[in-house]
């Protein structure tokens, strides 16, 4: 295909920012998402802000080359920003698919043990469903912001608020690094 116009340099990148704005620092994902929607406007990247990850997002993911997940994390130092790749379901299929339940979506570190709850799934599961249901293989990056408190109430803690610009920069970098990846429809 031909060279992409400048206005579509991040075409094929999907940002999924996740969290509940009524649970304190869990609102970090939506906060970053809202800022990214402005920052990435006109680049071709799509930004979606959701309360929680759901299987329906697999279709959006399947149409993307890279998915950047943004979420608050309970297992990181408050105010820290972590970036890690999300496990590729393709790699796991090649080596045998491990049986696994949905992830708790608040994990910024390693995969958690299988979770019996079907309402909340994790980034790996979104990509796995994109693969199993739509034969797509986007890669994924998780940008996590260490949270101080998930207690009910709107507004971020001062610690997490200070980390928001760094999280935005990390998400933009992750989007730019994935810009070269083709979407399924481009392949």
């Amino acid at each position: 295909m031909g060279e992409r116009p400048a206005g579509a340099r991040l075409r094929g990148v999907l940002v999924i920012a996740c969290g509940n704005t009524l649970r304190g620092d869990d609102g970090a994902g939506p906060e970053v998402g809202e800022l990214l929607a402005v920052e990435l406007e006109g680049t071709g990247a799509e930004v979606v802000v959701v309360d929680q990850l759901l299987p329906e997002l697999a279709l959006d993911a399947s149409r993307s080359g890279r998915v950047v997940f943004v979420d608050a994390a309970a297992d990181l130092p408050p105010g820290s920003v972590s970036v890690r790749p999300v496990d590729s379901p393709v790699a796991r299929v090649g080596g045998g698919v491990e049986p696994s339940g949905p992830l708790a979506s608040r994990s910024g570190g390693a995969r958690r043990p299988p979770d019996p709850f079907s309402h909340g799934i994790g980034p790996e599961d979104v990509l796995r469903l994109a693969h199993d249901l739509y034969a797509a293989a986007p890669d994924g990056v998780l940008v996590s912001v260490g949270a101080e408190s998930f207690e009910p109430g709107d507004g971020l803690s001062a610690t997490v608020r200070r980390a928001i610009p760094a999280a935005v920069r990390a998400a933009v970098r992750a989007a730019e690094e994935g810009a070269g990846r083709s979407r399924r429809s481009d392949a």
Binding site: P55, E56, P114, P116, F117, S118, I121, L129, D132, L133
Partner: protein, 474 residues
């Protein structure tokens, strides 16, 4: 003293926090069982002192799965306080929104929460018993489920502005009319959704014989059934009057104006649950046990009101009898309702007048009390408010679908436990069936009690003296 109590905690793949306790007698047989709702709702109290016009949006926050039903019931209660007549197109648009929510909620219940048991087996590896497991074994079934849920959510998003907690339904109607572009986009997606709904229903019918044992023991007992019915006898989801029939089809109450619900429904409180048990007053407690939701709706109506769904309803009744009494059949009823709701959305949106901009009536407070009723995905939902002359809310009573079903859920748990559990050596698959009977009702405990947090379930098994002998926690 032997320890003879099994605890399942948390109950999984339901909406809310709960646990089940199963008490064994001295011979190791199930003597009693309870479904405990362990979370607490506070919305009836939280609402006091709020302004009436805030209520639909505030009430929507009760639940992330069925906020639309709360908005509709709340707005109808507000309509009555204002004394307004909602413009006909406003009524229809609210109806579309509620139908879309039923589609997405039913899809979540059937495909995400229950199909793993049905497809993979009640005794299959619990680590695989989820939608990811379904996607690996039967991708088309999972695809249909995801697509149907997405279909319903996208309608809510298009009409209400967002998928969860839209603020579009307001006292007097809806806040803005439907535009032609949104209408076209929804109508364009209907053929695909309809095909997926029929394909899923065919899959269920083709496999239903596989689950004969579950159908016979997961909540198979006669009870009353209650639902909203139009004067024509068709199903009503956002309007209509209450009808109550017994297990033989005798009509015990009909044409009941929801305002008089208190003449028919009583609420009992048990010390082991935060969820009130609602019962049919004329029969007393607990004899007035009744069910609401898909199974009950199909029992109380004469027909659904759309051709394809009515053909399915006729086949359903031919297979199961005119008044099916097993809670396992909630699944079948749910799938038929998805077909019906999609066809109703098509029918309503195909009327050119649906683009009429007159969608809201405005007024000040003209009455001090209002009752609003809708059919939530799980059954009849009642909002009842009292306000002062300035529209400040003084008192609220919410009667939630899951509360209507509380007695039936407890009876179902006992029946299922008695059939599958013998002694304290309990296999996971047996416990899963005890949980599965709860999932048939698709309870929403966040709605019925209001909770914060995730949604676990426990099973306790206790001995004749009440001592805990086994607890299963998830």
């Amino acid at each position: 003293m032997a320890d003879n109590t099994i605890v399942i905690e948390p109950v999984t793949r339901i909406e809310g926090h709960a646990k089940i306790t199963i008490q064994l007698d001295e011979n190791g047989k199930v003597a009693d069982a309870h479904f405990h709702v362990t979370q607490f709702r506070g919305f009836e109290r939280i609402s006091q002192g709020r302004m009436l016009h805030e209520m639909p949006s505030l009430m929507a926050r009760i639940c992330g799965i069925c906020p639309v039903s709360h908005m509709v019931a709340s707005a109808k209660a507000c309509d009555e306080v204002l004394g307004v007549t909602v413009p006909p197109v406003g009524v229809l648009l609210r109806r579309v929104l509620n139908l879309a929510q039923i589609v997405q909620s039913h899809a979540l219940s059937f495909f995400y929460l229950s199909s793993p048991d049905l497809l993979l087996g009640f005794e299959s590896d619990p680590a695989l018993r989820n939608l990811v497991g379904v996607a690996q074994q039967a991708p088309e079934l999972a695809l249909d489920g995801v697509a149907l849920r997405r279909f319903g959510q996208r309608i809510i998003e298009r009409l209400g502005g967002k998928r969860v907690h839209p603020a579009w339904v307001v006292p007097g109607g809806v806040s803005r009319p439907l535009d032609a572009e949104q209408r076209a986009a929804i109508l364009e997606e209907i053929p695909d959704a309809r095909a997926r709904a029929h394909r899923s229903l065919e899959w269920f019918k083709a496999n239903v014989a596989t689950w004969a044992d579950e159908a016979a023991h997961l909540g198979e007992f006669p009870s009353l059934h209650m639902g909203l019915v139009h004067e024509t006898g068709n199903a009503a989801y956002s309007d209509g009057l209450l009808r109550v029939v017994d297990g033989n089809g005798w009509v015990l109450a009909d044409g009941v104006d929801p305002r008089s619900y208190w003449d028919y429904l009583g609420e009992a409180v048990e010390p082991w649950s935060y969820l009130k048990s609602t019962y049919f007053k004329p029969l007393g407690y607990p004899a007035g046990i009744y069910r609401v939701g898909p199974l009950a709706r199909l029992n109380v109506v004469e027909r659904l009101g759309t051709a394809a769904a009515d053909a399915e309803l006729a086949e359903y009744r031919e297979r199961l009898g005119r008044y099916p009494s097993s809670s396992f059949h909630y699944h079948y009823a749910r799938l038929i309702e998805i077909v019906h709701c999609i066809d109703m959305i098509d029918e309503i949106l195909s009327d050119p007048d649906i683009l009429n901009p007159h969608v809201r009536a405005r007024a000040q407070v003209n009455r001090n009390e209002g009752v609003g009723v809708s059919e939530a995905p799980r059954g009849v939902l009642i909002h009842h408010y009292r306000v002062d002359d300035d529209g400040v809310v003084q008192w609220v009573n919410l009667v939630i679908a899951t509360g209507h079903n509380n007695l039936a859920m407890n009876r179902s748990v006992l029946q299922t436990a008695r059939h599958y559990i013998h002694g304290a050596d309990v296999k996971e698959g047996m416990l899963n069936r005890v949980e599965a009977v709860i999932r048939c009702y698709d309870p929403c405990l966040s709605c019925s009690t209001h909770a914060v947090g995730q949604m676990p379930l426990n099973v306790d098994i206790r001995d004749v003296d009440g001592a805990l002998i086994r607890q299963v926690s998830r």
